[in-house]
């Protein structure tokens, strides 16, 4: 007789900060609970801070006409990120640009080389903004590359104003959640100036467990904010509760100190063990 388990394990990455947004580096397993499809889960199979992790990093670069005013600033920041991001040889790194009806790989695995910089500096802003199509494609690529213990991260440079995609916003979010990618959305809008595009970027980042960072932070500011996040990053694993739904909403909440801010992706797609 063959027994097949239908209980699959969820591996959830989350970040812990205090009320002043400072990383909490010493979180304990009984400081939080996970709410998975409305069920409160306190029994975990494992819990540990992330001390080092391999990252599959993809930069999505909006070179549509609408970002024209800040395009050179965008290219400068991405170029400054290139050597930083490839200094750790354990990470995968790629850059994808999108505008009009097209997306193009600027570089993949060779982003530390001069050719990548030349390609980057040769692109110009033109055409409409296929943001959601680009996100779907990026997620598909990350799903194809998927490896255990490699964290997919998307650095999305855009004003968030999609104008031409075939895919809808919801389809893009679904694909991103299926890939497990964390989105850091680099927002071109003036800080404090509300825009529809900023709201789109914020939702994309929040739903994936990432966050928005202003382009004005520059390459160093962007890197240091992401580094700060990972100083307060934890991974918890638990048995996925049985429900009838394919998509599970998920959240992490404190068990004692309500000033703790615990940030994770908004959900995941459940699949039974093969």
């Amino acid at each position: 007789m063959t027994y097949r388990s239908t209980v699959s394990e969820v591996r959830l990455l989350f970040f812990a900060t205090d009320e002043n947004r400072r990383p909490v580096p010493d979180l304990q397993g009984n400081d939080f609970a996970v709410v998975d499809d409305e069920r409160v889960i306190r029994d975990f199979r494992s819990f540990a801070p992330i001390t080092s992790t391999k990252v599959d990093l993809m930069i999505l670069l909006d070179n549509s006409e609408s970002v024209g005013a800040r395009f050179h600033e965008e290219i400068k920041v991405v170029e400054e990120l290139l050597p930083r991001s490839t200094s750790n040889s354990n990470d995968n790194f790629s850059v994808l640009s999108f505008s009009g009806m097209e997306t193009h790989f600027i570089c993949a695995s060779d982003c530390g080389e001069a050719l990548a910089r030349d390609k980057l500096n040769s692109i110009t802003p033109r055409g409409s903004t296929p943001l959601f199509d680009a996100l779907k494609l990026a997620a598909s690529v990350l799903i194809q590359h998927r490896q255990t213990d490699v964290l997919p991260v998307i650095l999305l440079f855009s004003d968030g104003e999609d104008t031409i995609s075939r895919a809808s916003f919801d389809e893009a979010v679904q694909k991103i959640l299926a890939s497990g990618a964390l989105i850091y959305a680099i927002d071109f809008a003036d800080p404090g100036g509300p825009s529809n595009g900023s709201a789109i970027l914020r939702t994309l980042a929040d739903d994936s467990g990432g966050r928005t960072i202003s382009l004005e932070s520059g390459a160093e500011g962007i890197s240091s904010q992401i580094d700060a996040d990972f100083r307060a990053a934890y991974v918890v694993t638990y048995a996925s509760p049985a429900t009838s739904s394919e998509f599970h909403s998920v959240g992490v909440f404190p068990t004692r100190n309500l000033n703790l801010r615990l940030r994770s992706r908004c959900g995941y797609y459940h699949s039974h063990a093969p």
Binding site: T6, V40, F253, L258
Partner: protein
């Protein structure tokens, strides 16, 4: 029959009521949470002071299922950021028609509206039934995929 049921529920909840008046806390565990409508907290005020054109705010409020030894409560927060710490065991007491939960290591309480109350044994029976249905549905799906 309904009156008998309500009487039974009141008798079961009586110790908690008495404990609440005397400041003694009961203990329970939150087993479910979701963001739902703030209906209980908002509608009462708006009905009393608003006019027919007044719109109810569309904010989401946390809704918790709190299981104690004899009674299960469904509680609704009054705002989106009114949270209960999800510790294994929390302290609470009934105060008039609200439920006060101790937070911040007992430094203060936060009050929740009671949306629903149910006898624990009835709630357990319903959960068992739902789990059985879920297992049957999963086994059926697994059998189909093997065909």
């Amino acid at each position: 029959m309904k009156n008998l049921f309500l009487l039974s529920l009141s008798l079961i909840a009586l110790p908690a009521l008495v404990a609440g008046q005397g400041g003694i806390y009961e203990h329970g565990s939150v087993v479910r949470m979701h963001m739902g409508e703030c209906t209980l907290a908002h509608h009462g005020f708006m009905t009393a002071f608003g006019n027919s054109a007044t719109e109810v705010p569309q904010e989401s409020c946390p809704e918790y299922t709190l299981v104690s030894e004899k009674v299960v409560f469904v509680l609704v927060g009054k705002s989106s950021n009114q949270l209960i710490p999800l510790a294994e065991t929390i302290d609470f007491r009934l105060q008039k028609n609200e439920l006060a939960v101790r937070v911040d290591d007992a430094k203060h309480e936060t009050k929740f509206a009671i949306k629903e109350m149910m006898v624990r044994s009835e709630w357990d029976r319903i959960q068992r039934h739902m789990d059985e249905q879920m297992r049957a549905s999963q086994d059926h799906g697994l059998a189909k995929s093997q065909d």
